[in-house]
């Protein structure tokens, strides 16, 4: 379990102090995939670096399995880092070492016997699907393959935690998908707790159990992905989930309803039933729904007719069927 308590991080420049993180409190449970999402510059990369103390927090604590990392002497900190794997947007492989040697690197540092290190490296390279590329150098691989090597390397010392800093941001959609599948597989088969930093909703959507939305150096909200997606509380979460360009600013009046699909009502054809039963023509102004763990989540904005009675009928139908909705101003 990773606990982050009252963490602050500021950088001093010549004339001013920049607050990168303010009052961060998070608990990451064993076995979960935890997402941290935010726009660039929000502080998410700094936050993930505070977990393994690549960045030292200005104040606050990082507690890993009950041990406060901020107080550890350097030597023990280096050992702790060997139990936290990390992968990066830029892969960061050693360019002068081949794939096998790259995967062996963390084991050399951790003092494995060469023979054992090579054996484990071969296994891991096979696990990530690059068995035939052991002797290749990073410059000979594609982005997706490099990230696979980076994952194998990060797993070499059998860490219990894996930090992913924008690990798929430099990859195309298909490759992103295969890397996400691999991460999910690792999480499930090897019981590795994964912390994912990203600016892509898709990544959170596909693999994360819980998410923290970070904005302007603070955590705007956090919770289960399904909750945050269906009912975002913060403006930044709404912006991330419903991209601004798609919102319906031109709509007028108080005739709009935002319907929220929370996964339970989704088995029914809600809108069709509503129209049939109320005999009211509604206009779908905006819709964004997605499938999460076999259930549909999302939002839809309906435009209702001007007639007050028709509106009442729609509202009472929604209430009667326990469909969450809000009136849009």
């Amino acid at each position: 379990m990773i606990e982050i308590k009252n963490l602050n991080k500021s950088f001093k420049t010549a004339n001013e102090t920049i607050f990168a993180l303010r009052d961060i409190n998070l608990t990451i449970q064993d076995g979960e995939i935890f997402g941290i999402i935010g726009l660039s510059g929000a502080g998410k990369s700094t936050l993930v670096r505070c977990i393994n103390l690549l960045e030292r927090p200005t104040s606050g604590e990082v507690i890993l399995d009950g041990r406060s990392l901020t107080e550890l002497p350097q030597k023990e900190l280096l050992q702790v880092r060997q139990s936290i794997g990390m992968i990066f947007q830029g892969f960061n492989l050693l360019t002068q070492r081949n794939i096998l040697q790259n995967v062996c690197y963390p084991m050399e540092i951790a003092g494995y016997k060469k023979h054992d290190a090579v054996r484990r490296a071969v296994e891991l390279i096979e696990l990530v699907g690059l068995a035939d590329r052991q002797k290749s150098y990073p410059s000979q691989l594609s982005g997706g393959q490099k990230q696979r090597v980076a994952i194998a390397r990060a797993l070499a010392t059998s860490p219990r935690y894996l930090l992913c800093d924008e690990a798929t941001s430099a990859l195309d959609p298909n490759t992103t998908q295969s890397i996400l599948d691999l991460l999910k597989e690792i999480n499930q088969k090897m019981a590795v707790t994964i912390i994912v930093i990203t600016h892509e909703m898709k990544v959170i959507d596909q693999i994360c159990d819980r998410v923290a939305v970070i904005d302007n150096s603070r955590i705007a909200e956090s919770g289960y992905v399904s909750d945050v997606f269906t009912n975002p509380q913060s403006e930044i979460a709404r912006d991330l989930i419903l991209p601004k360009a798609n919102t319906t600013e031109s709509m007028t009046g108080e005739r709009r309803l935002r319907i929220i699909f929370d996964g339970e009502a989704s088995s029914k054809p809600v809108i069709a039933n509503l129209i049939l039963e109320c005999q009211v023509p509604v206009n779908i102004m905006f819709a964004d729904t997605r499938d999460i763990d076999g259930k549909a989540y999302g939002q839809m904005i309906l435009q209702l007719p001007d007639d007050m009675r028709q509106q009442e009928r729609v509202l009472s139908y929604l209430k009667a069927n326990k469909i969450t909705f809000t009136k849009e101003a």
Binding site: L78, R81, F88, T95, Q96, I109, S139, A150
Partner: protein, 225 residues
């Protein structure tokens, strides 16, 4: 047209000796310069404020010392360092004395060369190595030096050619080598052909060093092939 003088020098093996002395001085001076300049360059890059183990005070002091030596023109530094050469090798004349002055002049240059090569190593790779629990010491010899190897080799070729140039200047104060032959038999006795022959031989040596360096870089750099 080849003069009698050249014939005489060739027959007495003086030209051949000059080539040998030049190569000998250059190679040994380069080796010793790296012996001093390599650790110095590593310390400069590691202790820099953006380095892996910042020690600003040490970095500043070393930086100033290196700058002082680098700002003195070699021909002046060479004369000034003759007493030091005498102290170390017992003479202020000949190859060995010149190697001492060459090393004093070239080591700070090499240090800057090494420093800039090390600073070229991708910060992301260093960060990844740190995230895997690499200590600063291991970071230097397992990451910085191997990753900077191609740049270090290119740098060593440039340094070697510079040292070769310095060694020719050493000929003016009796340092031996092709430089001395060009001055003594060419310039002072008005034999232009001797000067030109020394120039051509020097060019050949530089070409060989450069070619060898390029090949080594190419075959060892894993980013290219």
């Amino acid at each position: 047209m080849i003069s009698e003088m050249f014939q005489k020098l060739w027959d007495n093996g003086i030209i051949q000796m000059g080539v040998w002395e030049t190569v000998y001085m250059t190679v040994l001076a380069t080796l010793f310069s790296y012996g001093i300049g390599m650790p110095l360059g590593l310390i400069l890059s590691v202790t820099d404020k953006d380095g892996i183990h910042p020690i600003p005070v040490l970095n500043r002091i070393l930086g100033i010392i290196v700058n002082i030596f680098r700002s003195i023109p070699f021909i002046i530094l060479m004369v000034a360092m003759l007493p030091v050469a005498k102290f170390i090798v017992g003479t202020s004349l000949g190859n060995q004395a010149m190697i001492v002055t060459l090393v004093i002049a070239a080591a700070p240059y090499v240090a800057r060369m090494v420093e800039s090569s090390i600073k070229e190593v991708d910060a992301g790779v260093i960060e990844a190595a740190k995230a895997m629990g690499t200590s600063s010491f291991k970071l230097v010899y397992k990451v910085l030096i191997p990753e900077a190897k191609p740049a270090l080799i290119i740098g060593s070729v440039i340094s070697m050619v510079t040292i070769l140039g310095y060694s020719a200047m050493a000929g003016t104060i009796g340092g031996g080598g092709l430089g001395q032959i060009a001055i003594t038999y060419g310039y002072q006795r008005y034999n232009n052909d001797i000067i030109w022959i020394c120039i051509i031989l020097t060019i050949l040596i530089v070409q060989i060093i450069q070619e060898a360096g390029t090949r080594i870089t190419h075959t060892t750099d894993k980013r290219i092939n």
